[in-house]
Symmetry: C2
Subunit: 245 residues, 2 copies
């Protein structure tokens, strides 16, 4: 078990969708910011990691279990913990609770460290990770696999100015937005996700187009984001019908 | 002078662009949330206004003076005040200061109250506005005018699922994003806005397309958002070259 860190958070209007529920892609960004604040409190802020090690954290995968999505103006308690790590991967959990202690969501995130200069993944330095009190494990917990889409529907998106973040690439939160948007508006209104797995494969550069491809089978949607002839992100979302619909 | 209300705010990653500066459209949403917290502290939250009066606040115009844009991780002090009102319009200011007290931006916003049922503008009830201690004025401060674009460049945008907010229409913040995006990427990298005036004319419904039209003359860009054959928003942005470019 690692050190836990927690904050309260009241869901603002800008983080909610037409159903008054949090926009998951943006909530993931918020959670990253929160884990950044834990890191700073431990002397391991992004700037420290960059200046002392020349390294940058990168998220490769997420797995979410969603029991209920937080809604507009609801105050939730978010608990995070860098649970364990092995040679290359660090595993961090986020738990989102309502005000009476019900678990609304849990989020498993996979992090790696890359060398800023050559962008290659490097082994996790023990002293960098020490303050988190994460357990060192030998076993590599593999992220879920994805099969290749065979006959997907596809929508094209021009990459926009505000899709690009200060790293000079498309911000991670955009992928999941493109994935959602490839589904029908009516389907999205009438279903809620209860499980999401998401893999970031490769960064997308400014300019040009992306394609958001999707296949929907038995209430599960599988997604691929294509750019320049290759897959840049993948996801599988399990949906259930909303009550009374 | 009205009652002042203020908060500190540390700019999160998700609210910044490729230049590490705040995304103004999203910052305006944040400021609206902040004024909502003042209203709640005065017993005039959106829900109170809706339940007791059947009314909803709508922003019609913004005017921004921008001396420097706040940047990633910077903590700013935001002060807001419902300055004055007349029969139909309420005028609210936001002032954004850095940590040593320099004014970074000021934002004048125009609000009206609409009847929830027939969506028509109604006179401002004195007792609704009383807790803000705004000055009642006879003069109507007119929002800036716009001339019609004659030979604009145009980009088309499909309205996306996450463009729609819980009011069932495109969220206000999207208009300014579409306006920016109609400009060249290189232009945006090399210029900064020092004045923005923005008018919301009409809501945009889910589904369909919008066109973002722009003319650029002498460092000023003028914008129109078109949907279904009519103008839904207009803006004029004054730009200056960035230092060293």
């Amino acid at each position: 078990m690692g050190l836990q860190y927690e904050e309260q958070f009241t869901i603002p209007f800008a983080l909610t969708d037409v159903k008054q529920e949090i926009i998951i892609s943006q909530f993931l960004s918020y959670c990253l910011g929160l884990s950044g604040r834990q890191s700073e409190s431990l002397g391991r802020g992004d700037l420290d990691v960059f200046e002392h090690y020349g390294l940058v954290w990168v998220v490769t995968d997420y797995e979410l279990n969603i029991f209920r999505l937080p809604t507009y103006n609801e105050t939730v308690r978010i608990v995070t913990e860098a649970v364990s790590y092995n040679k290359f991967f660090c595993y961090r959990m986020f738990y989102v609770y309502d005000q009476v202690g019900n678990l609304l969501m849990d989020i498993l995130s996979y992090f790696v460290l890359i060398d800023f200069k050559d962008r290659k993944v490097v082994p996790v330095p023990d002293d960098l990770i020490a303050p988190y009190q994460s357990e060192k494990v030998k076993k590599i917990q593999r992220a879920p696999r994805y099969h290749v889409l065979e006959n997907p529907d596809s929508k094209d998106y021009r990459i926009r100015y505000f899709d690009i973040d200060m790293n000079g690439h498309v911000n991670n939160s955009k992928y999941l937005e493109w994935m959602y948007d490839a589904l029908d508006y009516e389907f999205l209104l009438n279903h809620r996700p209860n499980h999401i797995q998401l893999k970031y494969v490769k960064e997308v550069s400014p300019g040009g187009m992306i394609s958001s491809k999707v296949e929907l089978h038995d209430g599960n949607s599988q997604h691929e984001i294509w750019s320049d002839g290759s897959v840049h992100a993948q996801a599988i979302i399990k949906w259930e019908k909303r009550d009374g619909q």
